[in-house]
């Protein structure tokens, strides 16, 4: 039997307004190379000036993972030659990163937890982008110099599932702190996976293989499973030593395999040395005080929801996974909808209707509107079934909830005068059943209620109908 060892490196693009070492904007929809200047194009003589906000956000992250914040950290220069970096080096933090020795907790379905250690988080500059076309490559340096926080875990995960739980928790923390858009498709949350195997019971670490840049949780899960299978097969076939080498591999989603990138790496010598263009980075008392005041994190919020709203652990997990979702829920409750119905209407009805990339943030039905729909069920104005029609309508049209109820004729009849009339008609039309009921056939009660609901075309408030039928049959 084998044990799987996984460590993860995540590059999170910090959502600052400007680049790490120059004032160029960090927005990417602009024409290529328009967000560049002598500093990020590495013209001779241009010097880096450190962005305060990047340091602030790194300290926030360190606080969230209960890490050591190095009040003094240093930059180092990593040399590599590639056209996406005009300076031919990357400024990073190798020897003394700003954040060290943190951890986060992952949660299993049976409510047990595991602590995953985070070795470090350091600040570094991103590279530009290349587009390959025929015998040339086009270079766009708009992204060059954008701030990244590289978050490196210890090899504490023992399965693809644990790796995904870690990544989802990390993603959620980063979103709660609002230090990054953390959009995997757009590359602001990039994951590199280190995978190795060893016979169960051994302590030694074997050869680790790195799988780079996989852009969805599902593909990461798949890539790990496929790589683990490859390594186990090599071991069992007796070719582990020759087949499994320390290298970087790419996940090919179409072919469902990992593939060697050998050739590109060829014994990289990064020639790290202390960055001579920057002095030490110091977190002063004012910044430390401000950046360690962080918003409520997903774990704390989940606990609170369970306590405050008697929510079950699963629902609390779903609702707190994204800060936007938690905010939506809290707005619904603040506006008077019950927590119990808010959970259902948010997680089942609304989420079930969001399609084609529409998210909770871009949902056409906002929290105030969904809260109003729930309140109209709770005050007896409409039935749950009618509420679904109201929601369907509002997904397509911009309108007021009460106006839609009116327009679609979904108002329940609770008015006892109108209901009594219907009940009388039903009883008159079924004299034999009335007699049977009165002679002790209690089961017929449901029949009368059903007939009344049918006569009202479903618009009668069931509770009121029950009361009136009961009273009339005496």
């Amino acid at each position: 039997m084998f044990e799987v060892i996984i460590g993860l490196e995540v590059h999170v693009q910090l959502n600052t307004k400007t680049k790490l070492f120059c004032s160029c904007p960090t927005s990417f929809n602009h024409t290529q190379n328009t967000n560049t200047c002598p500093t990020c194009l590495a013209l001779p003589g241009a010097l880096p000036v450190f962005n305060r906000e990047a340091l602030h956000k790194a300290v926030m992250f360190g606080t969230a993972i209960d890490a050591t914040i190095n009040r003094t950290s240093y930059f180092d220069r990593k040399s590599y030659f590639y056209p996406d970096s005009p300076s031919a080096y990357q400024i990073t933090q190798l020897y003394t990163p700003v954040v060290e020795h943190g951890h986060l907790m992952i949660d299993f379905e049976d409510a047990s937890q595991k602590r995953i250690r985070i070795n470090r988080a350091h600040i570094e500059a991103d590279a530009g982008k290349n587009i390959h076309e025929g015998d040339i490559s086009k270079v766009d340096l708009n992204r060059a110099g954008t701030p990244l926080l590289e978050i490196v875990s210890e090899p504490d995960m023992r399965s693809a599932d644990e790796a995904i739980l870690y990544l989802k928790k990390l993603h959620s923390i980063v979103r709660y702190l609002d230090i990054s858009d953390a959009n995997m498709q757009e590359g602001s949350f990039r994951v590199d996976v280190n995978v190795s195997i060893r016979p169960k019971g051994e302590e030694k670490l074997y050869t680790r293989v790195e799988i780079k840049n996989i852009n969805s949780f599902r593909f990461i899960q798949k890539a790990i499973e496929i790589e683990v299978a490859r390594q186990i097969e090599a071991w069992e076939d007796g070719v582990y030593a020759s087949e499994i080498v320390q290298e970087t591999r790419l996940f090919d989603q179409a072919k469902q395999e990992t593939r060697s990138m050998r050739g590109k790496e060829e014994a990289a010598d990064y020639r790290y040395f202390p960055e001579p263009d920057l002095l030490k980075a110091v977190v002063d008392d004012a910044m430390f005080a401000a950046a360690t005041q962080i918003p409520e994190l997903p774990d704390a919020k989940r606990e609170r929801f369970v306590q405050e709203y008697a929510m079950n652990a699963y629902n609390a997990e779903v609702i707190t996974s994204l800060p936007e979702m938690a905010r939506y829920f809290e707005t619904m409750v603040a506006l008077g909808a019950s927590a119990k119905n808010s959970v259902t209407w948010l997680t089942v009805e609304l989420l079930g209707r969001l399609k084609n990339g529409v998210t909770i943030e871009t949902s056409p039905v906002r929290a105030a509107t969904l809260s109003m729909i729930v309140k109209r069920i709770e005050d007896g104005t409409i039935s749950g079934k009618a509420a679904k029609e109201v929601l369907d309508y509002l997904m397509e049209h911009d309108a007021e909830v009460d106006a839609v109820i009116e327009k679609l004729g979904l108002k329940q009849v609770s008015d006892s005068g109108a209901l009594e009339k219907i009940v009388d008609e039903v009883l008159l039309a079924n004299p034999d059943k009335v007699a049977e009921y009165r002679s002790g056939k209690d089961k017929l009660f449901g029949f009368f209620v059903g007939q009344v609901m049918k006569a009202s075309k479903g618009s009668a408030n069931p509770q009121s109908v029950n009361d009136i039928v009961k009273a009339k049959l005496g």
């Binding site: 960090t26 328009t34 560049t36 000036v49 240093y74 766009d140 590109k264």
Partner: protein, 96 residues
């Protein structure tokens, strides 16, 4: 370190610069001198100096996160690049 014609050719490739034939010998000699000059530094004993040592003990200055970019400057830089097109820098094909 030996500076010779092979090394110079490699540096030309890396730097995307072309050194004309009549200048090669002179440049090789100059580079030899530069390396010898920098080699003087190895006479210093740095074994007890921290990697983080700097000439100044002050912290690096922090910049406010306020965007500014004069696009005339990058227009100018692109215009002077050996090759550019549609505001891209164009380089020889990168082997992926």
């Amino acid at each position: 370190m030996q500076v010779d014609d092979t090394l110079l050719s490699k540096l030309e490739n890396l730097s995307y610069l072309k050194v004309s034939d009549d200048k090669r010998a002179e440049i090789i000699a100059q580079m030899d001198k530069m390396i010898a000059f920098v080699d003087n530094l190895s006479e210093l004993d740095t074994s007890r100096i921290e990697g983080s040592f700097a000439m100044s003990d002050t912290a690096t200055r922090l910049r406010e996160d306020t965007p500014f970019c004069d696009t005339r400057i990058n227009d100018d830089i692109l215009m002077h690049a050996p090759r550019s097109d549609e505001h891209f820098f164009i380089v020889p094909k990168i082997i992926e």
